[in-house]
C-alpha cells in the first residue's frame, strides 16, 4: 500500500504513475491525500473527486496503536474509477455533529459511474462492476461479484449479497451474475474479444490488469 503522494517525476502525460503503478489523472480532484490509500495499479481518471478530507473526527483508537492519520478512503489493487465519479465517505450525525466513516473498496472493481454521481458506500468488495450513472447512498455494502446495472440508485444501508445483479431506483435484485462471472476463460492473454462479446480484453468482474495497462 502506498500513499498516492509518492509521485514519480514522469513525462507530462494525462496520468501520474506512482511507484506501485497507480495511475492518477492530473485532472482529478483529490482532497486529503494523506487519508487515501491506493493498492497499486489502480486508476483514478480525470475529474474524479476523492474526498479524503472527510475523515473520522473522533479520537482514533487505531488498532495498530499509533496515533496517525485516519484513513478515509482505501482502494485496492487494479481498481478503475472512471471520469467524473465522486467518492465521498459516508456520514452519520452523532450527538449533533457529523461523523465520517472510512470507505473501503476492494480489488478489480470497475466504477464506470460517470459525472456527478456520488458513491458513499461503506464497503465495496472485489470483482464488482458498477455501471454508468449509478448512485450509491451512504452505508451501502456491496459484496463480492456484484454487477450494478447502469442508472441504478442503491439505497442507504442496503447490503447487496455476493453474486447478485441489481438494478432500478431503488435498487433491487434482478438476477444472478452466473458462475462464469469474472472468469475470462482460456481466451485471456491474447487478442481482442475476451469480454462477453464486446471488443475489450477484460471481462466485467474479472481481472482488470489489462484494462489498467491500456490506460495511459
Amino acid at each position: 500500500m502506498s500513499r498516492p503522494i509518492a509521485k514519480k517525476a514522469a513525462a507530462k502525460g494525462e496520468y501520474i504513475e506512482t511507484d506501485s503503478g497507480n495511475k492518477v489523472s492530473r485532472r482529478s480532484a483529490i482532497t486529503g491525500t494523506a487519508n487515501i490509500t491506493l493498492g497499486g495499479r489502480t486508476v483514478i481518471m480525470a475529474d474524479v473527486v476523492l474526498r479524503g478530507d472527510l475523515h473520522s473526527t473522533r479520537p482514533t483508537a487505531s488498532s495498530s496503536g499509533k496515533e496517525g492519520t485516519p484513513t478515509s478512503i482505501s482502494i485496492g489493487k487494479c481498481t478503475v474509477v472512471s471520469t467524473g465519479t465522486v467518492l465521498k465517505p459516508p456520514c452519520r450525525m452523532s450527538r449533533g455533529a457529523p461523523n465520517f466513516y472510512p470507505m473501503k473498496i476492494g480489488d478489480n472493481v470497475f466504477i464506470v459511474v460517470g459525472p456527478n454521481c456520488v458513491i458513499s458506500a461503506i464497503a465495496i468488495s472485489s470483482h464488482v462492476h458498477i455501471g454508468a450513472n449509478v448512485t450509491i447512498h451512504p452505508f451501502a455494502v456491496i459484496k463480492e461479484n456484484v454487477k450494478i446495472l447502469p442508472n441504478t440508485v442503491v439505497p442507504g444501508a442496503m447490503v447487496i449479497a455476493s453474486g447478485s445483479v441489481v438494478g432500478g431506483r431503488p435498487a433491487r435484485i434482478v438476477g444472478e451474475v452466473g458462475e462464469g462471472w469474472g472468469v475470462s476463460g482460456g481466451g485471456a492473454g491474447g487478442g481482442l474479444g475476451v469480454g462477453g462479446g464486446s471488443e475489450e480484453k477484460w471481462v466485467e468482474g474479472g481481472d482488470l490488469r489489462e484494462l489498467v495497462r491500456s490506460i495511459r
Partner: protein, 566 residues
C-alpha cells in the same frame, strides 16, 4: 437484461429436444441440421428460452454438452439472509418460512432496506425504536408502531398490529376461541331470546371483521378438530396431521370405504363438515366493507391505495390501503449446487460457508467452448471508457443498405488447436432483411498454451495487418483477418436491411426491437485430444503420447451487431 452492443448469446439445444437425456453427439446434431436445413431463428419466441451469455452456461464433461439453467438440477445447500448474512437451518425455514426472523426488513412502499432508529431525543440509543426506510422515508410511525427494543424486531412486530394494537399469540387465540364458544353455547341454549338483541351484544361486531391471521388460525383449529373427531381411536400420533402424507390419506379413504371391518361399522363416522361460523374460520362476504372502501377512495383519492406490486408483496392478500401496510421481512437467499439433468454429474458446488464465494467444483462452458465476439472493423481501437460513448453510438445507428465490415473473433480455451467452421443464413430472418457474408468460414485456431509462449513468439506472429500497420486493411475472401496464440479473427460483410421497407413504409409500424440486427451463427469445432484425458492441462497435451481422440462440438450462437438507423 438489455445488453450493450455488440453481444453474443449461446444457444443450448435443450430447447427443442423433448428428451434432455438424449446424448446426441455433435456430429449427429450437425447431420440433423444439414438434413433439416433448419436454421436458428433468434426472433422466434422460443429463442428467448435457449439463449444465454457464455458466463451463465455450464459444461457437462460426461455428456460433452453445454448445460443451461434449463437442463440442470439445482440442490439447495443452505439458506441465509442476504442482509444480515446469518445462515438459517432448513428446519427453521420449514417451520418459520423463507424470511429473516431477526431484524431485517424492507420497505413496503419502495422495497429498500429499512433501518432501526432510536427516537430518543437526547441522542442516546434508547427506546422507543422505529424502522425507517432511508430511500422514501416511510417508517413504522406511519402505521403507528414503535418498538421497545432495538433487537429482535421481527419477534416484536409479530405482536404489534398497526396502530399499536396487540396481536394475540396462538395460545391467546385458542383461549379466545374457547371463551367465545362458551358464550355461543349459552346463547344457543337460550333459543327463544330475540336474535336481534343477541347479535347487537356480540363482541365480534364491536371489534370489526376478524383479521386474516385470526381467520386462518380459526380455520386450522377447526379442521384439526374435525380430523381429530373422525379418528378417535387413531393409533398414530394425532397432533401432527399432515393432509398430504400418505398415511393421512389412507386414513381418510378408510373412513369413506364401504368394505370396512365390523369395528368400523359399529361406530360409523359422520361425514366431515365444513366451517359454519366465523369462529370456525368462515368469512361471509360483507358488501359493507366494499362500500366503505369505495367511500374512502372517493374521499381520499388513489393516493391511499396500493400499487399491484406493493399489494402483491404483502403477506396478507386482503390489504388495500397504505395504513394497512406491514414492513416486509427480508427474503432469504440460497446457495445451490447444480447437476447435469441427464447424467446427474455435479457441475457446480459452492463452498457451504455463507461468506465464501469460492467453489469446490465449477465446470464452466467458457473453459470448453470457444468464445465468439464481433466488433466493427472501423471502430476505434479499444481504448477503454473514453471511446465507449462513440462506439455505442456507432453500434446503435447502423446505416441501412450500406455494406459494412465487422470482425468475428474466436478465441480457444482448449489446450488443443481447433478447426472451426462457421455458417450463417445469408439473410437474417424477419421483415428487416440484412445480408450477411462470412468471408472466411473455415479456419484454424491455435491451442491455449502457456501464456509465456505468446509473449515469446509474438514478434514472429504471421500475417499481422489492420490497425497496427499503416497499410489500409485489405479484405479478401477465404483469408483470415488476423491471428494470435489462441485466437483468430475473420471479416464479415453485413448489409443492414431497410427498416422502412417494412409494412407500408411507416417506421412506426416496427415492432419492438425489430430494428436490432442479430445474426445467428452456427459454430462447429473439431479437434484431437488425448483419449481419456478429461482433466486437460497444458502439461497433458504436450506430454501425453497416448491415443488421440477426435472430438466435435457444434452449437448455435446469436450475435447482436447493433441497431439499424430508422
Amino acid at each position: 437484461m438489455a445488453q450493450a452492443f455488440p453481444y453474443t448469446y449461446y444457444a443450448c439445444d435443450c430447447y427443442d429436444s423433448n428428451n434432455t437425456s438424449s446424448t446426441k453427439r455433435a456430429s449427429q446434431l450437425l447431420q440433423e441440421a444439414d438434413e433439416d436445413e433448419r436454421t436458428f431463428d433468434p426472433r422466434s419466441p422460443r429463442a428467448n428460452y435457449s439463449l444465454y451469455p457464455l458466463e451463465h452456461l455450464l459444461y457437462c464433461e460426461d455428456c460433452q454438452q453445454i448445460r443451461c439453467p434449463r437442463c440442470i438440477i439445482e440442490e439447495t445447500l443452505n439458506w441465509y439472509c442476504p442482509s444480515c448474512l446469518f445462515e438459517v437451518p432448513s428446519s427453521v425455514v420449514k417451520s418459520d418460512g423463507n424470511r429473516c426472523t431477526r431484524s431485517c426488513f424492507s420497505c413496503p412502499l419502495c422495497t429498500s432496506p429499512m433501518q432501526t432508529f432510536s427516537l430518543d431525543m437526547a441522542g442516546d440509543v434508547a427506546p422507543p425504536f422505529i424502522l425507517e426506510c432511508q430511500y422514501c422515508r416511510w417508517s413504522t410511525l406511519d402505521i403507528g408502531i414503535e418498538f421497545d427494543k432495538g433487537q429482535g424486531i421481527a419477534a416484536q412486530l409479530a405482536r404489534i398490529g398497526n396502530g399499536g394494537k396487540h396481536i394475540p399469540t396462538n395460545k391467546e387465540r385458542e383461549k379466545e376461541r374457547e371463551r367465545r364458544k362458551e358464550i355461543e353455547g349459552r346463547k344457543s341454549r337460550d333459543l327463544l331470546s330475540p336474535s336481534i338483541e343477541s347479535t347487537n351484544t356480540d363482541p365480534d361486531r364491536e371489534e370489526g371483521p376478524p383479521s386474516h391471521d385470526d381467520l386462518f388460525s380459526n380455520l386450522t383449529a377447526f379442521y384439526k378438530s374435525q380430523v381429530d373427531a373422525q379418528t378417535p381411536s387413531n393409533p398414530f400420533s394425532s397432533h401432527d396431521i399432515n393432509f398430504s402424507s400418505p398415511s393421512a390419506y389412507s386414513r381418510i379413504m378408510n373412513l369413506y370405504s364401504t368394505t370396512g371391518s365390523k369395528k368400523n361399522k359399529r361406530n360409523k363416522p359422520s361425514a366431515m363438515r365444513e366451517a359454519a361460523s366465523s369462529l370456525e374460520g368462515l368469512t361471509i362476504y360483507d358488501p359493507a366493507n366494499d362500500a366503505a372502501a369505495i367511500e374512502r377512495i372517493k374521499k381520499e383519492g388513489w393516493g391511499v391505495t396500493l400499487s399491484p406490486a406493493q399489494k402483491h408483496a404483502q403477506i396478507d392478500p386482503n390489504v388495500r390501503f397504505v395504513d394497512e401496510l406491514r414492513p416486509l421481512a427480508t427474503l432469504l437467499c440460497t446457495k445451490r449446487s447444480k447437476r447435469c439433468r441427464s447424467c446427474r454429474q455435479i457441475l457446480t458446488k459452492p463452498e457451504s460457508k455463507i461468506t465464501s464465494t469460492r467453489y469446490k467444483i465449477k465446470l464452466l462452458a467458457l473453459n470448453h467452448i470457444p468464445r465468439l465476439s464481433i466488433r466493427a472493423l472501423n471502430a476505434t481501437p479499444p481504448i477503454p471508457v473514453a471511446s465507449r460513448t462513440t462506439d455505442t453510438l456507432h453500434y446503435n445507428a447502423l446505416n441501412p443498405g450500406m455494406p459494412s465490415h465487422f470482425l468475428l473473433h474466436l478465441s480457444n480455451p482448449l489446450f488443443d488447436p481447433i478447426k472451426v467452421t462457421l455458417a450463417t443464413p445469408s439473410t437474417t430472418p424477419g421483415r428487416v432483411q440484412s445480408r450477411v457474408t462470412i468471408l472466411c468460414p473455415q479456419f484454424d485456431v491455435g491451442a491455449n498454451t502457456d501464456i509465456w509462449d505468446d509473449t515469446l513468439s509474438s514478434s514472429l506472429l504471421p500475417i499481422k495487418r489492420g490497425s497496427i500497420t499503416d497499410q489500409a486493411p485489405q479484405i479478401e475472401a477465404g483469408k483470415i483477418w488476423d491471428r494470435g496464440r489462441n485466437w483468430t479473427s475473420v471479416a464479415v460483410e453485413i448489409v443492414p436491411g431497410f427498416t422502412d421497407a417494412v409494412g407500408s413504409g411507416v417506421p412506426d409500424e416496427l415492432e419492438e426491437d425489430e430494428d436490432v440486427l442479430e445474426i445467428a451463427i452456427f459454430v462447429r469445432i473439431e479437434y484431437e485430444t488425448d483419449a481419456g484425458a478429461d482433466e486437460r492441462g497444458p502439461g497433458d497435451s504436450r506430454g501425453g503420447k497416448g491415443e488421440k481422440e477426435r472430438r466435435e462440438e457444434a452449437f448455435w450462437t446469436v450475435v447482436g451487431v447493433g441497431r439499424i438507423k430508422g
